[in-house]
Each structure stands twice: as C-alpha cells, then as structure tokens.
Amino acid sequence: MDDEESILVPLEFLLKKAGHEVTLARTGEEALAHLGTGSFDLVVLDLMLPGLDGFAVLERLRGLPTRPKVLVLTARGQQADRAKALALGAEAFLPKPFSIQELLAQVQSLGEEG
C-alpha cells in the first residue's frame, strides 16, 4: 500500500507480472479493511501515510490471527525507522529509491521462507 499513485501503479504491474495476486490500498484504514476480509501472504507497506501511518498499521497487524509478512518501504532511510519497523515485526525493509530487481528479490525471498 502507498498513498502515491505513481508508486502503486508500477508496483502493481511488477507484482502481477511476477504472478502474485494484488490488492491496492491508499491509506492505512483501507489496508486494514482489506486485511480483515481476506488472507494475504505479504503486505508491502509505505511508512509515510496520511492518517494512520505505517507504524500504526504494523502494530494493528500484530493483533491479527493469521499475520501476513510485511515488507516496509520508506523514503526516510534512517536507522531509527528501520529499527522501529523491524521491532514492530516487519520482515524486511527497503529504502527508497529502490530498483525493481531489489524489490522483486525481496518479495521472492519472503515468499520462499513462508
């Protein structure tokens, strides 16, 4: 999920191309609503969201019975954000700007682990 269309569109394209089923969400609330209705293997999460931010979404995710894996994307590549995201249970962390290879490799490895 991301609040920027310009990120969502290429990500959707790439993930679909890699054979995943993709649901888009623009806000934290939207994402949580989707997570409540179906089961997901992976959440790709931007930290800076309007309203409920990425950290809050991570925290809510921990309470779910079947928790999907989380790949965190952020433009704020600071160590503190990384540590906080990982502490809150994110499996992987990808600072922007990233290449599509990096992204696909991360998604791939997370899928294999699961």
Binding site: E4, I7, V9, P10, M48, P50, A75, R76, F98
Partner: protein, 849 residues
C-alpha cells in the same frame, strides 16, 4: 519576671511577625493585597503611645486622649474625596511621600529636601517615644533598676535592625512591600486583641471602677468634659491636630497611599478603621480609673502593665508584647518611610552630583540606622522630661506644618511656590521655637532662661503674652496660623508662573532620555504610550516614570536636559551618567534574571530552528525520494518490457512525465529558498500581471485536471514594475497549495485596489485549522505533507517585492496578497499603455514584458 523570659518571648513574637511578612510575599500575597489587610495596616496609627500612653493621659488629664482618635475618624469622612484624588495623583506620578507631592506641585528645588529634612527632625520625638515606651515597660516588668537610657540604646539598635530586615530586603520601584503590609495588619490585630483582653480581664477581676470613682472627688475631673475656653480650645485643637497628623505622617502616607493596591479598598477602610479606633479606646478609661484606685503612686504610663501584673504575669507578658509590637510596627514603617524620603530628596540628588551613588539599598539601611540613632539622641536629651503623649504631640505639630502647602496646593490653583516655601519655613521655625527647643530646655540642655524668652511678648510657650494654654495647643495654634498666613499671603502677592513651559518636550527626545537612563525597553514602552500625547503630557509621563525609579528631584534634573531649558552640557551628561548608574544598580538583579531568561529562550529558539532544519532536510529528501522511486521503477519497467501494450505504455510514460515535473518543481522551491537565504535583490521589470497569472494557470492545468478540480478566474488587466519570476513562483506556490486542499474548485482573482495589485487564491477545501492559522507562513510548518516551504517562500517573496500576504477568514482557504504597481508614467518601451486609466481604447492584452 526574668529579663531572659521577656527577651525570649519577644524574640519568638518578632520571629512570628517575620514569618507573617514572608507569607505576605509568598503564598499570602492575595491576603496581603486584600481590603482587610489594607484597613488593618492603617492601624499602624496606633502606636505604643496608644497602647500605654492613652491610659496614662486619661489617668492624669481625663478624656483628652479621645480627640487623638476623633481627628482621624473625622478625616475618614472626607476620605473618599481627598484620598481618591491623592491615590490618582500618586499612581500617575509614583509619589512616595508628601514631599514628593510638594515637589511635583510647586517645582521649587528647595521644597522637597526641606520638607524631607523637617519631617526627619520633626518625627524624632515620636520615634523617641517608642524607645521610651519599650525601655520603660521592659525595666518595669523585669524589675531591673538600670537607667532607662541603657536599655533604650540596644532597643534603638534592635528596632533599626528589624526595620532594615523588614523594609529593605530588596528594592522595589513601586516601593510596595506586601510582606510588610501583612505583618503590620497582623500586628494591629494582636495589639487590639491584647488590649481588649487586658481590659476585659481587669474589669472582671477588679470590678467596675465607675461607681467607686464617684466616691473619690479627686477623680471627678477625669470623667467630665474640659472646662473653660482653654479646655474647649485644647479639645478642638487636638481633633484638628490629630486629623492632620493622620493625613501627613509619613508612615500613614506610606500605608494608605503607597501600599494601596486597589482604590476600591477605601470604602471598607473608611468604616473599619474608625471601628478599630473605637474598640481600642474602650478599655482606656476603665484601666485609667482602676490604676488610680488600685495603684496610687505608680507611673500612669505603666498602668497597662502594672494592673495585669497584679493578677497574672502571663497577662502582663501579653500586654508587654502588645505594646512592643505596636512600637515595632510604628518604628519599622516610619523609619522605612523616612529612609525613602532621605534617599529620594536628600541623598540621591547630592550623591548624583558627586557621582558617588553606591547601592541605594545600603543608603536606605544607613538612613534607617541614622534615624534611629537620632531618635535615641533626642530621647537622651529630652525624653525623661515628658510623658509619652506629650512627646508624640510635638511630632504631630511638626507634621501638621505640611498641611497648608499640601492641601492648598491640592485644591487651590493660586498657591505659589514662594507661598508654600514661606509658609513651611515660618511654621517650622515657630514649631522649633515653641515646642522643640523648649523640650530641650526643660531637660536642662538649653539654659532655663530660654523658656522666659528675650522679651515677655516672645515667651516660647506664651507668644504675645498668651497664657493658660497648654504648650502643645499654643505651639500648634501659633505655628499653623503663621504657616497658613504666610502661605496664603505670599501666594496672593506673588505671581503665578505661567504653566511651566519647560515641561514640554519632543516625544522622541524624551524617549531617547528614558532609553539612556532606564534602558531600551523603557524607551520603547514610552514611545508606545506617549505617541499622540501633547508635549507637556508626554513630559509629565516621562517624569513620572523617571521619578518612580530615581526620585522626583533627580527626575526633574534629568528632564531639564530633554526640554527647552537645557542645563550646561557637562552637567547634563554627568547627571545622566550618574542616574544610569543608579538605575543600573537598582535593576542589576532584574537584569541578571532577564538575561538568564533571554539566554534560555534564545537557546530554545535555536534548538527549535535547528530541529526545523533537520525536519526540512528529512521532508525534502522524502519529497525527492518518492518521485525518484517512481521514475526509476517506471523507467526500469519500460526498459525491461519492450512488449508492453500501447495503452499501458502510455500510462506509464504519462506518470513518468508527471513525476519528473514534480521533481523539477521541488528543486525550484529549494533553490528559491536558497536564493532567499542568500538575499539576492529582485530583478524589477515592467510586467503584465494578467498575462503572468494566465501563464501560472496554464502551468497548473495538468494538476487540476488530475485532481478533478475546476479552475475559475476573475482577472483585471494590471501592469506592475516587479520581478516576474518571483511573482510566478508565488502564484505557483499558492495554486499548488490550493489544489492540494481543494474539493471541487479553485478560484484566482486579480484586481487593482488603491494603487496596488490584489491577488486572491480561494479554494473550497477544509480550511486552515484555527490553531495553525498563525503559523501557516512560518518555515517548515507543513500541515498537509508538503515541504512546508511553499507558503513561507510565498510570504518572503511577496514582502521582498514590497507587498503583503495574509490569510482571509471564511469558508475554505483564501490567501490574498498585494503587490505595489510602481509604474513610471513614461512608457518604458514595452508598449504597455494599457494600465493607464487615461489611455482608453488600448487593449490590455497588448502588454507583456
């Protein structure tokens, strides 16, 4: 009773008083500033003289103790008229004493110092009286037989110390001492309760003295009114005298005017204080009669102690503490008031001349010590010869000499400085001749022949051959008559000077003077208040401010330099420098505190700014990285998938273009910010504003289409001499901001208003939250996830071009800004004639730079 027990209980009681004073400056501040504390603090009027001397006087002269309390009671009838006016004056001019008033009213350089010096001398008997009362009481209760003077000296030192501790702990420009007021009020309550308790207990245990007195013919005169003309005259005189004393005693002025926090306290005091006097006088006559009946041969001034001692030492101790606390309160307040007088009117002007001004607080303390030592000296010289009340009355007559000049000055415009001076000098001389010096002569310090006078008509206690009047009545009548006659007579025969022209001054000059002497803040504050005032009013205001800080005499001297009658430059500089030093000393602690505060505030501001810069960096990098990610991903996709369907390909390329535009906009903003920081001047050129607005609208069109926001415009043709690029940047910043928040529409208006171009950017979004309105133009204050630079930049740019920008009230958000037109009338060569109202028919579209 052992002296150590007396001293211990005394120390404990004074310690308690000190705690009360501390309470008054701390948590009990509200109490100390209340109407009851004010009313009770007026009762500092009742001293050891009331507590012990009244009974003594009643036992020897009957009811003549009463007029001393009837006077103030009658004065309180006029209280609302007189005091309201006085309070107003005191507040406006920061008066600290009647001497200040005389100086202010007559502007004669001699009046202030003369009145001050005279008050100091005139009050010595009164202070000596307190010493005598305490020393007498102490010796009586302890049973020691030391000479009175040996006890009086330590008492004087002790009281001086106490006054210094109470009144000069710190320097307050308003000369208010909340702690002192509360302590005095507390002490008033203690002496009243102690006195009433003694009275009630004595009546209870010794029985009603009035029936017994009937059978003792020698006591009958005590219960009857005074007889004959002399008696009536004495009675009326005492009422008048005590009324004037109540008004003009420095300590009374201090508690009733200087320490007054709120004029609304007057109505309560106007009935509560007479009630207090009534209550404290109830036991006087019974105690006097009981003393005469049961303790013949005892000093009547000591009945208040001797009677309780018959029953219980504890009650006698209570009476002792009541008397001592009455004396202490009087001495503390009186010597404080006198020390203010001395430092403001005698020491400061002198020291300023010689630039020897040290710590004012130290001078105050020394003044208190000096006053007490002089009082002791007077006590040594004259004290033994007089009863308590007699000594006090000599001071009363002295104080009453201020009345003609003050009261006439307050209510009659015709009083002249010469009249006031003549009256005061004449009254003073006669007071000394009829009362002060005879007291010394009676004690053997002047030849006895002095009392006979150089001529039978000039006998000090019987001028013009008068006889049969008691000395106080005689001295009072003589000195006040002469005083009043001289004040009125000389005033009538001297010409009222034209309203002092020298008191007018330019506001700027006055502000500069205040800035030099009192510091820059005072100068600014003065400018704010005095702008618009006429010259004399501004000068009066400046003088009042100076007077509150350096005393009226010095203030006057300082003011001369800023007004028309300029003194020699050298003196002026010297006085100013010295006044500055005095001011600096006074405000040293204040300044230190202020500096500390400022430093910590500056530190906080720097910290916040630093943090804001960090946040800006983070925000800018976030803003950069998001479009960069998108561009990179889209480019890589396009590269890796050359076989994409045409439709998807176009979509990706459109996104790519949009993100690239976003990046360049961001870079523009950061660069504009950097330029602003560098302070480059605007590049002014004739500009077609309407054309510029249309250009800006075209630039944001893609964004508005994408957001589904309808753009509206209402544009007049306006041309201006301005920086084209900067105006475009302003418009883009405001439009982007509006588009980011709008629901359906954004409207841009351009009008010509009062020689300015007025722009308005309106959106129908949620509007700026109330708490954020003030901060929208500050840097790094982002409320929408933007860089937080757009509006800040817009403001800086607008102001750099000589315009104003603001946020208007209403639904949605409306930013408006103006730009000056500044178009020269000759055609600068761009064919821009359209903006001239006098050039009709030229289509505005033709313009453009």
């Amino acid at each position: 009773m052992s002296p150590s027990l007396l001293l211990t209980s005394l120390a404990l009681y004074l310690g308690l008083l000190f705690l009360v004073a501390l309470l008054g400056e701390g948590r009990g501040k509200a109490l100390a500033q209340g109407p009851w504390a004010y009313a009770l603090s007026l009762a500092v009027y009742a001293t050891a003289w009331t507590f012990m001397g009244s009974v003594g006087r009643a036992a020897t002269e009957g009811a003549t103790f009463l007029p001393i309390y009837l006077g103030p009671t009658l004065v309180l009838l006029f209280w609302p008229f007189l005091h309201g006016r006085l309070l107003q004056l005191a507040r406006a001019h920061r008066l600290t004493s009647w001497a200040d008033f005389l100086f202010l009213r007559y502007r004669h350089p001699l009046l202030g110092p003369l009145a001050a010096a005279f008050l100091v001398v005139g009050l010595l008997p009164y202070l000596a009286l307190q010493l005598k009362a305490i020393a007498q009481a102490f010796l009586f209760l302890s049973g020691e037989k030391e000479p009175l003077a040996d006890v009086a000296f330590p008492t004087a030192l002790f009281l001086a110390l106490f006054a210094i501790l109470f009144g000069t702990r710190r320097l307050d420009p308003s000369e208010r001492h909340q702690g002192l007021v509360l302590a005095v009020a507390f002490e008033s309550l203690v002496k009243l309760l102690a006195f009433l308790l003694v009275g009630v207990t004595m009546l209870w245990s010794l029985g009603n003295p009035f029936p017994q007195a009937q059978s003792r013919p020698e006591l009958a005169p005590l219960l009857l009114p005074p007889e004959g003309l002399a008696g009536y005259l004495a009675w009326v005189n005492l009422v008048l005298l005590s009324g004037l004393a109540f008004l003009f005693l420095p300590r009374q002025f201090h508690v009733s005017v200087v320490e007054n926090v709120d004029p609304k306290h007057l109505p309560l005091a106007a009935w509560a204080f007479p009630l207090y006097l009534l209550l404290i006088n109830l036991p006087v006559l019974p105690l006097a009669l009981l003393g005469q009946l049961h303790l013949p041969g005892e000093n009547p001034d000591l009945y208040v102690l001797a009677l309780p001692l018959e029953i219980s030492p504890l009650l006698a101790l209570l009476a002792f503490l009541g008397g001592v606390s009455a004396a202490t309160a009087m001495v503390v307040v009186e010597s404080l008031a006198l020390s203010i007088l001395i430092s403001n009117h005698l020491l400061s002007p002198l020291l300023l001349r010689y630039r020897a001004l040290g710590s004012l607080l130290l001078w105050r303390r020394l003044a208190i010590l000096l006053v007490m030592l002089l009082a002791y000296l007077y006590f040594r010289l004259a004290g033994e010869a007089y009863a308590l009340v007699g000594m006090g009355l000599i001071s009363f007559v002295a104080v009453a000499q201020l009345a003609p000049a003050s009261l006439l000055g307050l209510f009659w415009k015709g009083t002249t400085p010469q009249g006031a001076l003549a009256g005061l000098l004449g009254g003073t001389a006669l007071w000394a001749y009829t009362l002060f010096l005879p007291a010394l002569a009676r004690s053997g310090w002047l030849p006895k022949g002095f009392l006979e006078g150089p001529h039978p008509l000039l006998r000090p206690e019987g001028l013009l051959g008068l006889s049969g009047l008691d000395p106080v009545t005689h001295g009072f009548l003589a000195s006040l008559t002469l005083n009043l006659t001289l004040t009125l007579g000389v005033s009538l025969f001297t010409r009222q000077e034209a309203p002092s022209r020298d008191r007018t001054g330019e506001v700027e000059e006055l502000a500069a003077l205040l800035r030099r002497v009192l510091g820059p803040e005072a100068g600014e504050a003065f400018l704010e208040q005095a702008t618009g005032l006429r010259g004399p009013e501004a000068a009066a205001l400046a003088e009042a401010w100076l007077a509150g800080s350096v005393g009226p005499a010095t203030a006057r001297l300082l003011l001369l330099s800023a007004t028309r009658e300029a003194p020699p430059q050298a003196l002026r500089e010297e006085v100013e420098a010295a006044a500055r030093e005095s001011r600096a000393l006074r405000t040293y602690a204040e300044a230190l505190e202020a500096a500390r505060k400022e430093l910590s505030e500056a530190y906080e501001r720097l910290k916040a700014l630093d943090q804001a810069k960090d946040e800006l960096l983070a925000a800018v990098s976030h803003e950069l990285k998001t479009p960069l990610t998108s561009v990179r991903a889209l480019a890589e996709i396009l590269e890796a998938h050359p076989d994409l369907p045409e439709e998807e390909r176009r979509r990706f390329i459109a996104l790519l273009a949009k993100e690239a535009a976003r990046l360049s906009r961001l870079v523009d903003q950061v660069l504009a910010y950097a330029r602003l920081q560098a302070g480059l001047p605007p590049a002014l050129a004739p500009t077609d504003l309407k054309g510029l607005v249309e250009e800006a609208l075209a630039l944001v069109k893609p964004l508005s289409l994408e957001r589904g926001v309808n753009m509206e415009e209402a544009l007049e043709a306006v041309h201006a001499l301005t920086d084209r690029d900067r105006v475009l940047q302003i418009l883009l910043n405001l439009l982007h901001n509006a588009l980011r928040h709008a629901r359906r529409r954004v409207r841009l208006e351009l009008h010509r208003r009062n020689g300015e171009a007025l722009f308005r950017v309106v959106d129908d979004g949620p509007g700026v939250p109330e708490e954020a309105r003030l901060r929208v133009f500050e840097p790094f204050q982002s409320f929408s996830g933007g860089t937080g630079l757009g509006l800040f930049l817009a403001r800086r740019l607008v102001e750099g071009l000589g315009g104003r920008i603001w946020l208007e009230n209403g639904n949605g958000t409306t930013f408006a800004f103006t730009l000056p037109l500044e178009v020269s009338h000759e055609d600068p060569g761009g064919g821009r004639r359209g903006e001239h109202p006098g050039a009709p028919g030229v289509p505005p579209e033709e313009g453009g730079a």
